[in-house]
Symmetry: C2
Subunit: 341 residues, 2 copies
């Protein structure tokens, strides 16, 4: 497998000096993903590739800056996810795909590994950054999950930015919907039969963004945000807003954000399963994540991947699909942004 290595090297001296003034002498790091799926180099133009890697880099840097200035892992997760949500490239926030009704219905979740508090929203249509609504639910309510217009109403408590349908309209996503409607009339009953090779078409299945971070205080957190599935019907909810499936964080083990064919991730309780393998079987983060993604999920037929971090700053980014937009940045100077296997 050929690695597409965009960046690898030491962080600038200025970042290190900044870190020292705020540090508790602990390392910090974050890892991000922008979705997994049939992402093949032969189908990707150099221009599009650069757009993806640039945006992943922006998100990594913003999250890293938050951590280096003493921000919490929850702060870093929200900061980095907002940047990905604001980009039309990823299936979350502005770039969200369309439902069968031509609407954008978004889901997001966040979990704090220190407190095991969590917040999630599903089926929101008017929140510019759904991850901020998820954080609002976590911080300001006694609840974990809110759906639909109720979630939107509650997000006002935190003055979350709203946006109208025009903001979320992306021609590319609209064209995807029309294309899928033609080929996939009864997706729900018969599953997808689409085998198109172009990137933008295929990423409709697995488009999601997610971040996991370790802060200077030794606390980890994870968040996930998605526009769901193109042409989705019947108020379908995937794994992203399901705590334990697409999103989970626990200081004792790991912080995980998943991306992939959501139904399998729910049935396999993927994020919590990685945590449980670490807690109860003593596996390392890498081995636990590999076991779940490349064995358990694969045996079920579940395509996708995840990113994870533990309280020591170890990072993992396994996937069983052709590609996954991903990257990490650590206080020891290591940084990578990758797309293909």
């Amino acid at each position: 497998m050929k690695k597409f290595l965009v960046l690898f090297g030491f962080i600038s001296a200025s970042l290190f000096s900044q870190q020292k003034t705020n540090t508790t002498n602990k390392n910090f790091a974050l890892v991000i993903h922008g979705g997994a799926g049939t992402i093949l180099k032969e189908n990707m133009s150099p221009e599009l590739e650069k757009q993806y890697t640039d945006k992943l880099n922006d998100a990594l840097k913003a999250g890293y800056d938050t951590l280096s200035k003493g921000g919490t892992s929850v702060d870093a997760v929200v900061t980095a996810i907002k940047i990905l949500e604001d980009s039309p490239l990823f299936n979350a926030g502005k770039g969200s795909v369309f439902t069968a009704d031509g609407k954008n219905e978004m889901d997001a979740a966040i979990m704090d590994g220190k407190t095991l508090k969590a917040g999630a929203v599903a089926g929101v249509k008017t929140i510019k950054n759904p991850i901020t609504a998820a954080r609002c639910v976590m911080d300001k309510s006694q609840h974990v999950m809110m759906v639909g217009s109720g979630a939107e109403k509650f997000a006002k408590t935190c003055k979350c930015d709203t946006a109208d349908a025009a903001y979320f309209f992306e021609q590319k996503r609209w064209d995807q919907l029309q294309k899928i409607k033609k080929t996939e009339k009864t997706e729900l009953d018969h599953g997808s039969s689409i085998k198109a090779s172009d990137v933008e078409f295929n990423d409709k299945k697995f488009g999601t963004v997610g971040v996991a971070a370790l802060d200077q205080y030794g606390n980890i957190a994870a968040g996930t945000s998605t526009g769901g599935m193109t042409n989705k019907k019947y108020g379908r909810v995937g794994d992203a807003p399901i705590i334990g499936a697409g999103t989970y964080a626990n200081n004792k083990t790991c912080a995980i954000s998943c991306t992939g064919h959501g139904e399998f991730f729910i049935r396999a309780t993927v994020a919590h399963d990685v945590s449980a393998l670490m807690e109860y079987k003593g596996l390392s983060l890498e081995k636990a994540a590999d076991e779940v993604v490349n064995k358990k999920l694969k045996e079920m037929g579940g395509e996708g991947g995840l990113i994870g971090i533990d309280a020591k700053g170890n990072i993992t980014m396994p996937f069983n699909s052709a590609g996954m937009y991903r990257g990490y940045m650590k206080s020891d100077g290591k940084k990578e942004i990758l797309i293909y296997k």
Copy 2:
């Protein structure tokens, strides 16, 4: 703690003979709950107690009959839950509590331990038996979770019975809403401060019904159904429809249905955690469930309980609240229906 033992004894000879004609010589069993909470004998009238135990008995018998006739564990779960949903006594189906808007919004989930297939619905208002809609999602769609009107629309695929607001109107539940509205103006921001001692008032927090079953073919399944939380706002969703939190089944380990303060059950991924303790740490069903309910959940402040069954027919019914409506019936003739500690 005084046990309230309603029934204990051998099943009639007729049931045994029926079992023999269909059996694969395997044992079968089911276990049910009707919610956990501040259920104290001193607050319960003999008449109400009898109503609860009679209805639990009806559900147990119906589920048992399904199993004895060769029905699957999924069949038995649906059969028994429907009986509890049709009773105004429990916070599910007909007896569902009211939201802050004076509506009934119900959630349900089911999972098949043999296939790891699962189905869930949240926020449905017009489905007479939400568990049948959850099964419809599991059996007839490629999805696991559907919410709101989309879920209701999809349930038509399976011709699930519908019901209007008048069917779900129960004066007792309406009065509960008015009472709670008076004392709990800002529940979401400040949590509940209600310490009322009467059963009907307190069960609003933890009302849920659930069933776990083992069939003659050695397969287990679990299902949960709830009307949610009285006076709930903002489209809040609890643990019942969250696979891995309130509901989970896996032939390798256990089938679990939870009831309690849902937010804690989501954050602790309770149902999957019991399974993980069995799979990865080799704990028995009873020890795993005790660890989660009486240690992990209790330390977090999470009140409630669960019922569970494994593929050998072992049963557990732990709870850390004052009481839990519960019972089981096994092909070896053992049967119990209990309410208090």
